[in-house]
Symmetry: C2
Subunit: 190 residues, 2 copies
DNA sequence: CAGGCCATGTAACTGGTTACATGATTAG
DNA sequence: CTAATCATGTAACCAGTTACATGGCCTG
């Protein structure tokens, strides 16, 4: 149930509406957790009903009104409790790896394009993360001595960067392997 | 719905019972997908009802009878269709990263033990993967020229190894960061 | 005789995805 | 006029987790 906790962390960093949270989940929080707006609204409603969040209706001009959520005492307590409770190290879940193994029962060469597409997507994510890192942490615009919250955000982002780099390198390995299997094909003209 | 496809791949590699599949999901397939026996039995029943799998009751001596599943024509067709259809590159979901960012609102030092525990778990997984690699692919017992299926299994395993190594390095980075934040603590005796 | 492995399942619940639904404002 | 952005939600479905349930065989 980490979505609740991710929301608590995000709202502690900065109160905001469901819509704003959904956008954050596409950016910074999305480095390590994703959620759709539908899911977010549902969970926000439940958390407010449970007394973990406070809502404030904010009128805006030129835009729809919004509900600004912030963390209530019990919410903060729930987060603290979770932080002190050990969690299971999680395992990978990678559809593409299923496909790669499945290629043995199909044409391996047919997978090249798909793998290249994924490589491209990870490359774009990496560029996006690096831009964010320069903007918020290492660039000339960034605050010189980072506060603890920023240091922690930075180390999480470094994890995202390391993940994308590793994945790109692995997909190159996969492409090499697929080419090797397709190149010297066992045909009659071998 | 990649569990169905993972099951199809595994049964194409080798027919087997639900119990055997559950064990494979703890080993080789578990490099990139996990599933509990409950889930597997449920999905197997559905796939058989849909005509994607065949069952054969196998009597055994000294053990309970088992149902051996194998892939039927429509199952193979369903796999082929999925293999040719693009899928979305997936994003990370990492609870521990939520905790790390949450530590800004708690005591960062209190997280050290938890991170060390995770580091340890990933270290063990890495050792397990490396042992499997030596046994099946690179060691003296391994078949000299690997067939395409084995090449593909190997490249997926290399992905798991790269992931574990990357994660361990990142967790070291996280530990450094936590120590830096806790070390020069902003107390009255600073 | 206790514990672990082999083997199969049901039931209830929780979390996540997809599809549907509405409606105002602003920029091109 | 059209598309994008802001803003909030409901409903149905699918996937995954947790708890419960059974029972024989083998090893120590």
């Amino acid at each position: 149930m980490a979505l609740e906790h991710a929301i608590l962390v995000s709202l502690l960093e900065q109160p905001g509406s469901g819509y704003e949270l959904a956008r954050r989940f596409e950016r910074s929080i999305g480095y390590f957790w994703t959620a759709s707006h539908q899911q977010i609204y549902r969970v926000l409603a439940r958390m407010e009903a449970d007394g973990r969040l406070l809502v404030r209706e904010v009128e805006q001009q030129g835009r729809p009104d919004k509900k600004e959520y912030s963390v209530a005492g019990p919410g903060r307590a729930a987060l603290a409790e979770w932080l002190h409770k050990p969690i299971e190290p999680e395992s990978l879940r990678h559809d593409l790896a299923v496909k790669i193994r499945g290629a043995a029962f199909d044409d391996p060469a047919a997978l090249v394009r798909e793998v290249e597409r994924h490589r491209q997507a990870h490359h774009e994510r990496l560029a996006h993360y690096l831009a964010g890192e320069a903007r918020d942490f290492t660039g000339p615009e960034a605050p010189a001595p980072l506060d603890p919250g920023q240091e922690l955000q930075h180390v999480v982002l470094r994890g995202g960067i390391a993940y994308e780099r590793m994945t790109i390198a692995w997909l190159d390995d996969v492409l090499d392997t697929l080419h090797r299997l397709a190149g010297p094909r066992p045909g009659p003209a071998a």
